[in-house]
């Protein structure tokens, strides 16, 4: 309660109470992100529990995707981007200079907004990750991994007889599930999803949401979404971002039923955004 009071005073740039009791897998402490001189995130502090779905919501440009991309250091690719603060995954600081981004990203997979399969066959799309990380020793093993991943992504039934067809020839929803299969083929701990359904129709969206719910058993999932219904449907924890600040985080039903911050309330009721 103390903290909530403080938060109101300093406009949200202050730690929020971790919301879920289980041991957090990812802990972010005072994360600031700058694009050149412009500050995109102000002191984000958030705990992300293991084997749960955490959704990041907020209006466009609020920094939720920026935060997501900090978790597997995709922001390293942007020359002008600078990250301060501390993000730990399983107790290890991922911005430690000793950390190898390649092995970090193998542990923290990512699914993007627009389905982006490689212009190769369905098989090659999924096989690429295991192959570059030398996760398999033989062709047969590779085939097993590919089929297992496709089946976990709920795609195997639809494509089992045309694994050699180009991945780009699938429908949008299938392509997105292919990208999920590609991500889980390298056995990550965490899957980051950046608005995975924004380019899909409602049926394909429902299919992906179902899949996210199934994947929760084995993976920790962080999902950025514009759809509050989606956040409500798939996630156990929700974090609301606004103008580079983490306004509020907590159990999903609590955020959607009894939000603490007036900004959260106006957003979920559709008054800002």
């Amino acid at each position: 309660m103390n903290m909530a009071a403080e938060e109101k005073k300093s406009d949200g740039a202050v730690p929020t109470v971790p919301a879920i009791e289980t041991e957090p897998l990812i802990t972010a402490r005072n994360v600031d992100v700058f694009y050149a001189d412009k500050q995109a995130l102000n002191g984000i502090t958030l705990d992300i529990p293991a084997n749960k779905v955490t959704s990041l919501i907020g209006p466009s440009g609020c920094g939720k995707t920026t935060f997501l991309r900090c978790i597997n250091r995709m922001n390293d690719l942007i020359d002008i981007c600078r990250v301060e603060g501390e993000i730990k995954i399983g107790g290890q600081d991922i911005y430690d200079p000793k950390v190898d981004v390649v092995s970090l990203r193998a542990q923290v997979g990512m699914v993007f907004q627009k389905p982006n399969p490689f212009p190769k066959s369905i098989f090659e799309n999924v096989a690429y990750g295991p192959r570059i990380h030398h996760l398999v020793k033989s062709k047969g093993e590779l085939k097993d991994v590919v089929e297992r991943s496709l089946s976990k992504a709920g795609l195997l039934e639809e494509v089992h007889d045309r694994l050699d067809d180009p991945g780009t020839g699938l429908s949008g929803g299938q392509q997105q599930r292919l990208c999920i299969a590609r991500a889980i083929a390298v056995e990550p701990k965490v899957i980051l999803m950046d608005e995975p359904c924004s380019a899909l129709d409602p049926i394909a969206t429902a299919r992906i949401e179902e899949l996210i719910d199934e994947l929760r058993e084995n993976y920790t999932i962080v999902i950025v979404t514009h759809s509050m219904q989606q956040a409500a449907r798939v996630s156990q924890q929700t974090a609301f971002f606004h103008m580079g600040n983490l306004v509020e985080a907590g159990k999903t039903e609590q955020i959607f039923t009894t939000p603490q911050d007036p900004r959260t309330e106006s957003y979920i009721t559709g008054r800002i955004g």
Binding site: S103, R105, F112, N116
Partner: protein, 418 residues
């Protein structure tokens, strides 16, 4: 009810403007095509003659007493050919006329005869009818390039020669055949003997060197600059310099080649090796710029997809981005090569402007190149070289078309959808 058929003046003006623009576009295309047709057409008409050749047959007497069977090369074959000509026209007696008579066949005739005798010594002691390459004057007359209405004194081919040629023609001892020598021979001072192969080989060898040097260097530079280099003041400076280099006149690269490759490194003058090196200096900026553009055209989502599952930057670049950009890179390289193929100035500076009869077989042999050959022939006074010039241009154009065709085929082969 709204009436959709009403055309307000503003709407009419808009439609008129649209129509007008389409006509402008169509007009410019027609003009461009017209000029292209004019150019190719006139070159073809002028050059087509070079692909045929006039030959004359002579009754050649090979008396065995003039031959030493152990040394068939010792015989004066020229005298034998001349004697055959005198026998064919016994009434020519004046010295000056005789010289004109000898001018009906190419000076190469004696070598042709020598070759024939060495290949088949059984000819000795017999009289045989043998076909020889006619001189360029006869060739030009047969092809209708001699204007007989001009006063005899001011033309090279005299009335007497015309009479002789017509007499030979009447006997059926004159024929026009496909000029295979044009494609298999090297340059010559005699238009009827000059061939394009030495220049063609020179160009092909230079371009091979140029491709082998500039393609790998160019694409690696482009990949590094586009995928790995940090975008800062230094990379901006490099980019500006590359763009400027692409616009530097080629003769400057020629001078650089002369100063550095020939004088400092001491590489052989007139060689396709140095030619290719100079040309690659010129094509490098083109290849780098085109390759960077095609790398930039690969959607960033592909890069992110690879990095997102833990590919290193090199893996993302070489497994995913470069294969997608390769068709564009190849196109850039071929465009650069096509420019290099047509460029003369830098080759002049490094001595590839020589009279080369031998056909080069390696990159260190002395050679010339197609555009230089065109320049040399265009500069020659003999009438026969005029059609050779046009024919050489045709060969160059065909070479260019073939290169572009290869580029299209390669692009089709490597193209992937994304």
């Amino acid at each position: 009810m709204t009436d959709f058929t009403v055309k307000t003046p503003a709407l009419k003006r808009r439609h008129a403007a649209e129509k007008r623009f389409q006509w402008y576009g169509l007009g410019s295309i027609i003009i461009a095509l017209g000029f292209l047709l004019l150019m190719v057409g006139s070159i073809t008409i002028k050059g087509i003659g070079a692909f045929t050749q006039t030959r004359v047959a002579l009754e050649i007497e090979l008396p065995s007493n003039e031959f030493n069977l152990n040394d068939l090369k010792a015989t004066n074959y020229g005298a034998i050919v001349k004697k055959a000509l005198r026998n064919a026209f016994p009434d020519v007696t004046k010295r000056r006329d005789k010289r004109k008579l000898y001018g009906l066949v190419s000076p190469y005739a004696s070598f042709e005869l020598q070759k024939m005798v060495i290949e088949d010594p059984a000819l000795i002691g017999k009289t045989t009818k043998i076909w020889f390459v006619a001189s360029d004057d006869v060739d030009m007359y047969i092809k209708g390039n001699v204007d007989t209405s001009i006063d005899e004194k001011s033309r090279k081919f005299s009335d007497k020669q015309i009479a002789w040629v017509e007499e030979i023609q009447k006997k059926g001892d004159l024929e026009k055949v496909f000029n295979s020598g044009f494609f298999t021979g090297g340059d010559s001072r005699e238009p009827e003997l000059a061939g394009i192969l030495s220049a063609f080989m020179g160009s092909a060898l230079s371009l091979s060197v140029c491709f082998l040097l500039s393609f790998p260097i160019g694409i690696f530079a482009a990949i590094y600059l586009e995928e790995f280099a940090k975008k800062n003041r230094w990379s901006a400076l490099i980019e500006i310099n590359i763009n400027n280099l692409a616009a530097v006149p080629s003769i400057v690269f020629g001078l650089l080649g002369l100063a550095v490759f020939l004088n400092v490194f001491g590489l052989p003058r007139s060689s396709p090796l140095v030619g290719g090196m100079v040309l690659s200096l010129m094509t490098l900026p083109t290849i780098i710029i085109a390759s960077r553009a095609s790398l930039r055209a690969v959607p960033p989502s592909i890069r992110e997809a690879a990095l997102g599952i833990g590919a290193s930057q090199v893996q993302a670049a070489f497994h995913h981005v470069v294969p997608l950009a390769l068709p564009g890179m190849l196109t850039g390289a071929i465009v650069g090569m096509a420019r290099a193929l047509g460029d003369t100035a830098p080759l002049l500076m490094i001595g590839m402007v020589a009279f080369i009869v031998d056909i080069p077989t390696g990159v260190l042999d002395k050679a010339t190149a197609l555009p230089v050959q065109i320049f040399l022939w265009a500069d020659s006074p003999e009438r026969g070289f005029m059609e050779k010039t046009s024919a050489a241009i045709l060969v160059l154009l065909v070479f260019l078309v073939l290169m572009n065709l290869v580029a299209i085929i390669l692009r089709r082969k490597f193209e992937q959808r994304f």
